[in-house]
């Protein structure tokens, strides 16, 4: 692709091109957003499923794991809003629930924050008093109303963990993204990150990490590894995906993907988790190491997935290959350069 040296750049080369082009629309902000949403929904679920909400400390009377979940989703949502071209119009993101996964995500974020917030509201402690303790449900879901709120919040949390992957996977424009493996990876990564974070909170709170938790973490991380590898091995020659794979495995993202995601972000924590399940003495330390590896690994997985989003050429000529392209602005603005 010619870039024109110091003269005017080819102004629309990024939009229409006969060469594969990398998407540059979503990048770091979206990777942070995706990660926080995954962790936010996952920590709530992990805390509830592992029945660890009550023993790991409280902030204002609310279990620490729930507070972390709310903060992660609120911050992730705020990043998304700030990243919009027109942030003050953010409410319109709720409109197109019929087809848009972003709308589904916006609703699931909202429903989760409202319902999970309501769920824990009776436990809220302000200045030694519990002003909402009269509300008629148990904040830990031990009665009918509390359990109903917990289930609704849990379903919303699953959508929160998954929808970012679905946003990428639905359109066919970018072959690397257009696969159920992407939302599956995001879901498994969110689950693994969240379980490891809950275990980190356990260690900080002085509670012992159980062998079962380590096995669960190992299974989730191993499943994530399988999902990543399977995605790498399907439709390898498809236009666009072939370029994505080239960049992941041999190109500029090789080091980060192979070592950051493939080894440190999945393989190593999976091994350490299974080792920790059988080594009671080292279990807490291994749980902390797993968390330190998995959370950055999950973030890198999302960031790299975004950065290898490559569109195939809009048209593949029947003969020969395009060697260069030119644009009218360049042609008109610098007549005679070519």
């Amino acid at each position: 692709m010619q870039s024109g040296g110091g003269g005017p750049q080819n102004v629309f080369m990024d939009q229409f091109d006969l060469e594969a082009r990398t998407q540059r629309v979503w990048d770091l902000n979206h990777a942070v957003w995706f990660t926080l949403m995954g962790v936010g929904g996952g920590v709530f679920l992990a805390g509830r499923i592992l029945n660890l909400t009550e023993g790991l400390g409280y902030l204002l009377g609310i279990p620490t794991v729930d507070v972390i979940s709310f903060v992660a989703i609120a911050v992730g949502g705020a990043i998304l809003v700030v990243d919009l071209g027109r942030p003050l119009q953010f409410w319109r993101a709720f409109v197109n629930v019929r087809t848009s996964w972003i709308s589904w995500g916006a609703w699931s974020d909202l429903i989760f924050l409202v319902v999970a917030g309501l769920l824990v509201l009776p436990a809220l402690s302000l200045g030694g008093s519990e002003p909402f303790s009269g509300l008629g449900w148990d904040p830990h879901g031990n009665d009918g109303a509390g359990l109903a709120l917990e289930i609704v919040a849990g379903v919303a949390a699953v959508v929160v963990m998954t929808y970012a992957g679905a946003v990428l996977a639905r359109p066919r424009a970018i072959p690397y993204w257009n696969s159920p493996a992407v939302p599956l990876q995001f879901l498994l990564s969110s689950a693994a990150m969240s379980v490891s974070l809950v275990m980190l909170i356990e260690v900080i709170a002085g509670e012992p990490v159980s062998a079962g938790q380590m096995v669960l973490l190992g299974v989730l991380t191993a499943a994530l590894k399988v999902a990543v590898v399977a995605h790498l091995r399907t439709r390898r020659d498809a236009p666009g995906k072939a370029q994505s794979l080239q960049r992941l495995l041999r190109g500029r993202h090789r080091f980060v993907f192979v070592w950051g995601v493939g080894v440190a972000g999945t393989a190593l924590p999976a091994v350490l988790a299974f080792v920790g399940a059988g080594a009671a003495g080292a279990r807490d330390a291994l749980a902390v190491i797993c968390c330190v590896l998995l959370v950055p690994g999950g973030f890198l997985l999302r960031l790299i997935t975004l950065r290898v989003g490559i569109y195939p050429p809009v048209h593949i000529p029947s003969m020969g290959r395009p060697r260069s392209s030119a644009a009218p602005a360049e042609s008109l603005g610098t007549a005679g350069r070519r």
Binding site: V11, F12, D14, Q15, F16, D17, L18, R21, Q23, V25, W26, L84, G85, R86, Q89, F90, R92, A93, F94, V95, N96, T99, S100, W101, I102, S103, A106, V167, L168, R170, P171, R172, A173, I174, P175, A238, P239, G309, Y311, P312, V314, H315, P317, S318, M319, G320, R321, P322, R323, S324, S325, A326, A327, P328, A329, S331, L332
Partner: protein, 221 residues
């Protein structure tokens, strides 16, 4: 049912870029946003080298992924098949841009204003309705509309769409090689249907994306 569409005979294109400039002039598209450029590429080696041209624009897909992805409902497919972006409704999520296989959507980033001597730095505060399509919203996405304002004007005034210059997309009107034909794809007697029947079935860009484009090609290199 009317389904407006465009047939581009790529073999006729001479690469003059008149369509690119006509579109820019007609729609006053934002800085860096070119709705209808002509892509050029070389093929072969000297002395057997050729220069190929491919006019491109929004494909106004029947199964438009941009419409599906848009969370705010700003992108809509009209009953006549034209896909439009309502910039006032757009929130700037750019989900449409990642979903479009053709790169046909353009985000109007605030990169300051172009300084042209004598020209106002900002758009006039009130834009006459006739020129509303030339007013763009910062932080929103814009795109080719097949010059829907011209088509609507033509229908309101009884002009033949795709034939009368005031009722035909600017790129079609200005093309000196007549490589763009615009009309009703659902009408077997329309100029586009007739052209397709005389030049073989239309091809589409990125057929793997299965978007059912209304912009079709003949004579693709």
């Amino acid at each position: 049912m009317t389904r407006w569409g465009m047939v581009i005979d790529a073999a006729r294109c001479v690469g003059c870029q008149a369509c690119t400039v006509a579109c820019k002039t007609e729609n006053q598209s934002p800085l860096d946003a070119w709705y209808a450029p002509v892509v050029e590429w070389e093929e072969g080696e000297f002395p057997d080298a050729t220069l190929n041209y491919l006019p491109v624009l929004c494909n106004h897909c029947e199964d438009a992924p941009c419409v599906t992805a848009c969370p705010s409902g700003a992108l809509k497919r009209r009953d006549d098949g034209i896909v439009i972006a309502d910039e006032e409704v757009c929130i700037g999520s750019r989900a449409c841009m990642t979903a479009c296989p053709y790169g046909a959507l353009h985000f109007f980033e605030d990169r300051g204003t172009v300084s042209v001597e004598g020209a106002p730095a900002e758009p006039a505060p009130s834009v006459p309705e006739r020129y509303a399509h030339q007013s763009h919203v910062r932080g929103a996405v814009s795109k080719c509309t097949y010059c829907a304002h011209k088509i609507d004007f033509g229908i309101e005034n009884g002009l033949e769409v795709g034939v009368h210059p005031l009722a035909t997309p600017a790129c079609v009107v200005t093309c000196p090689a007549e490589c763009r034909i615009f009309g009703d794809l659902d009408d077997p007697d329309s100029n586009v249907s007739q052209y397709l029947s005389g030049h073989g079935p239309g091809e589409v860009l990125r057929p793997d994306a299965k978007t059912l484009p209304s912009t079709q090609y003949v004579g693709l290199p």
